[in-house]
C-alpha cells in the first residue's frame, strides 16, 4: 500500500540490513560497524562516517564462532561474531566496540584478532558514574576521536560535532514520539513493527533514518489498521532483542507490548546529549551516566554509611515506574539471554522493585534460538491469565 511506504521500507531494511549499506558504500561512504549501545555515534556521524549497528541473526545456526568463542557466553554476541566470520559484515570499513559488558569487551579483542578489520577501535567505557569516571570517559573519547580522524583523513571540528549531536538528538526525539504512539489503548503501532523500525534506524545514516521515522510516524497516525485492543499491556525489560520473533510470540497471545527497556529500543534512544560548550562533555556524560543499562554501576548515595535497599531500587529503576504509568502497563516481562551476567544479576532486584509497585512480572531466559520460543509461549500464556484475573 502506497500509504505505508515508510513502514514497508523499515521492514525491508530489517529483513536485509546490508543492502542500503552497500549502496552507501558505492557512493563512496565509509560504513563503521559498532556493537552495543556504547560507541559514540555522533563522533562517527560528524566525520561523515556511517555508523551501522552490528546485530546477530537468530535464524542462522552458529557454526564458525565455536572455534574462537566458547559456547557458554552470550549467544547474541556469538551470533554476531559468527556472521562476521561468515563474511556477512564484510562491507564494513571499520569496527568500534566498547566495554559494554565483560563478554563484549573480550569479544572486541577476538573480533580484532580474527577479522582484522581495516579500522578497529575499542572504547574502554568505565563502570562507575562519578566525576572522575566521566572525565576518564571524556579522555577515552578524545583517543577515539584521534583514530577516527586518521581513518576519515580530516579533523573533527567542534561545530561539526555539535551538528551531529543535534541530528542524533532530533532522531531520539522522533523515536520518543513514535513510542508515544504506543500509549493509546489499543496502541497505534505494535511491538513487532516498532522493533523493525528501530533495527532499520540502526542501519541508516542519521538524517536518512530520521526522514524514515517522520514518514513512519505520519503513517501510523493516519492508518486504521493498528493492533487490536487486548487485555494485557506489557513492558519488556532486559537484554538485547534484535529479532522480532520473541515479541511476535507475545503479541500473538492476548497482549500488546506497549513499552520496552532494551537496547534496540528505548534504552538506546531515550536520553539526549546535553548541549555543552565542548560537545565531548555532553557525550561523555550521556553515554556513561544518562544511558541506563545495568552494565553501569549506579547507586542511590554512594557516600552513605549504610544502604537503603528500597531507595537504591527507586534510584536505579524508578524510570520503569514512569514507563508503567505513562504507557498504562499492567504486566512486565523480564527477559535475559542465557549467559548474560549483567541482566542475570539484575533480575531479582528488578522483580523486588516491581513487586513494590504491585506490578506482576515474569522472568524468561532464552538462548537466542527460535526453538526456545515454543516452551516460553506456554509460560507467557499462564502469566497473561494471571494478569487477566488480576491475581497479583
Amino acid at each position: 500500500m502506497a500509504q505505508d511506504r515508510g513502514m514497508d521500507r523499515a521492514k525491508a531494511i530489517y529483513q536485509d540490513r546490508s543492502q542500503r549499506a552497500g549502496e552507501l558504500k558505492a557512493q563512496g561512504k565509509q560504513v563503521i560497524g559498532y556493537l552495543c549501545a556504547y560507541p559514540v555515534l555522533e563522533m562517527m556521524t560528524a566525520l561523515d562516517l556511517v555508523p551501522f549497528r552490528i546485530l546477530g541473526d537468530m535464524t542462522e545456526p552458529i557454526s564458525r564462532a565455536d572455534a574462537c568463542l566458547p559456547t557458554v557466553v552470550c549467544p547474541f554476541i556469538r551470533s554476531a561474531l559468527d556472521l562476521a566470520l561468515k563474511d556477512r559484515y564484510q562491507f564494513l570499513d571499520g569496527v568500534v566496540m566498547a566495554h559494554s559488558c565483560d563478554v563484549a569487551e573480550k569479544t572486541a579483542h577476538i573480533w580484532h584478532s580474527y577479522l582484522r578489520p581495516p579500522y578497529f577501535h575499542f572504547i574502554d567505557t568505565p563502570h562507575t558514574t562519578g566525576d572522575s569516571a566521566v572525565k576518564q570517559h571524556k579522555r577515552l573519547l578524545k583517543d577515539f576521536q584521534k583514530t577516527l580522524e586518521q581513518l576519515a583523513g580530516r579533523q573533527l571540528s567542534q561545530e561539526r560535532l555539535k551538528e551531529a549531536v543535534k541530528a542524533h538528538n532530533q532522531q531520539r526525539a522522533l523515536v520518543r514520539e513514535l513510542y508515544g504512539l504506543r500509549k493509546p489503548d489499543p496502541p497505534l503501532i505494535s511491538g513487532v513493527e516498532s522493533l523493525e523500525v528501530m533495527v532499520s534506524l540502526m542501519s541508516l545514516p542519521v538524517d536518512e533514518g530520521s526522514r524514515l521515522l517522520k514518514q513512519v510516524i505520519t503513517e501510523v497516525r493516519q492508518r486504521n489498521s493498528g493492533p487490536p485492543k487486548k487485555p494485557a499491556r506489557l513492558l519488556i525489560w532486559g537484554s538485547i532483542i534484535d529479532n522480532s520473533s520473541l515479541i511476535q510470540m507475545i503479541e500473538g497471545l492476548s497482549a500488546n507490548l506497549v513499552m520496552d527497556d532494551t537496547c534496540v529500543g528505548s534504552r538506546f534512544y531515550w536520553p539526549d546529549v546535553a548541549a555543552t560548550e565542548d560537545p565531548l562533555d555532553g557525550l561523555a556524560h550521556r553515554y556513561l551516566v544518562a544511558l541506563k543499562c545495568p552494565r553501569t554501576f549506579r547507586q542511590a548515595d554512594p557516600n552513605k554509611a549504610s544502604k537503603d535497599y528500597q531507595a537504591d531500587l527507586e534510584y536505579r529503576f524508578g524510570y520503569l515506574m514512569e514507563y508503567a504509568k505513562e504507557w498504562r502497563v499492567n504486566g512486565v516481562i523480564l527477559q535475559s539471554l542465557r549467559y548474560c551476567d549483567i541482566h542475570g544479576y539484575e533480575v531479582p532486584q528488578v522483580k523486588d522493585y516491581l513487586n513494590s509497585l504491585g506490578l506482576p512480572a515474569i522472568y524468561l531466559e532464552y538462548d537466542y534460538s527460535q526453538a526456545a520460543l515454543a516452551p516460553l509461549r506456554t509460560r507467557v500464556q499462564a502469566f497473561l491469565e494471571i494478569i487477566g484475573q488480576g491475581n497479583f
Partner: protein
Amino acid sequence: MVNWWQGDPILKAMDVATVYPEDYGAVCAAFGAAQAYLEGAEADGFPAHMCGYARNCLGYTARMIELGEIPPEAPMGGMPQPSLLLASGALCDARYKWFQALGRYLDAPLWVLELPHPGVKEGLMEGAGEGNIYFIAQQLREFISFLEKLLGRRMDWGRLDETVDSTMEMNRWWHRANELRRARPCPMHSRDFWSSMPASLYMANDPGETAGLYRQMYDEIKSRVDNKIGALKAPERYRLAFLELPPWHSLDFFNQLAERGWNFVIESWAYHPPRPLDLDRVSDPLERLARYSYHWLTGYYPKANQAEEWWGYFAYPYLEYVRDYQCDGVVLHPLLSCRTATNHLMMVRDRLMKKLKVPSLVIEGDIVDLKLFDPARALSQAEAFEETMDHYKKLRKEAGLGW
C-alpha cells in the same frame, strides 16, 4: 573481593580486616557445602549459569540473614556480616554486579574500584597509560575519603606507604619463586601454587610477613632446583599449563595425573603477581598502587603489540608462559558459570597451536558446582592426549622451537 592490590593495602593501612567471598566459595566447594547455597541463590531468582562463587555467596548470605547468625553448617566458621563491601570492576562483571545484588540481604555500603582495560593499541596510544593511571589513583583517593568518613578516622599515610612497599615486596618474592619453575624438572606443581597464591591475591595477612613466607618458599624451591628435585614423585614426563580456575572440589584429580608424570608448571595469568616494576622514584603511595595494578594488567602490551596479538592480557601472556616454561600441553578448563575465565580459551588454544605447536586438552567443569565436573571422563582422555603431546613435541623440534 579480590582487587589485584588496588584496595587491599588501603584497607590494611586503615586496620580493616578483609574476608573474600570468592575464596570462601572455593572453601565451601572443597568442603562439599556449596550445593545448598547454590540452590538457595537459585530459589531467590539468580540464574544458574552465573558465577559459582557469587551464587554460593548470595545463597550463604540469604541463609545467614534468615537465621540471624552464621549458619551452623558453614565450613571453617563461616563468613561474618560485613560492614563494607568492596567490589571491583577488574576482569569480570560478576565482581560488581554480585555485590550490588547483595544489597537484597545486607545494608552494608558498597564501593566499586575501577581498573581500566584498554585494548593493546588503544593502551599504547600517546598519553593513554598515564591517563589511565591518573584515573586509578584518583579513584583510590575518592575511596580513601569515603573510608575516612565511614570509619571516622584519618588515613595514616606513612603506614600506607609501608604497606604498599611490603605488598610489592611480597609479590616480588612470589614472582621470583614462580620464575624458578622454569627449571627441569619443575620444582613446584600447580597444586602448591594454588595453596600458596591466596596469601598474595587475598591479602588477609600482613604483607610483610607474607613476603617473609614467600622468601622462604623461594629458598626452598631454589634448593630443589639446585638439587634437580622435581615436584612429582614420578619422573616428569610432561610439562603442562592449567587455564584457568581449578575444580577446587576435585583437586585429587591432579594427583592422579601426577602419577602419570604430568607436571603442571604454570597456571592462570590472573593468579600471578605482576612482573617486577621499579617504582622507587614514585613517592605518592596511591600512584605507586595505580601504576602497579595497571602494570599487572597491561605489562605485556608492548610485546603483544609487536606480536600483533590484540588480547594483551588473559590471552597473550600464555604465549610467553608456554614458551618460557617449555610446556608440552595445556589443560583448558572452561567453566559453565564463569565467562571471564572461559572467553579466551578457544583463542588461546588456537594461538598456542599456530604459533608454538602446543596442543590443548579441554575439560569442562566448574569451580564450585560438583555436578559439572567429571574427573573419570577427564582422566580417560589422558592417554590419548599424551600421544598428541608426543606428536607435537616432534613437530616443535622439526620447526626448531627448542623444546
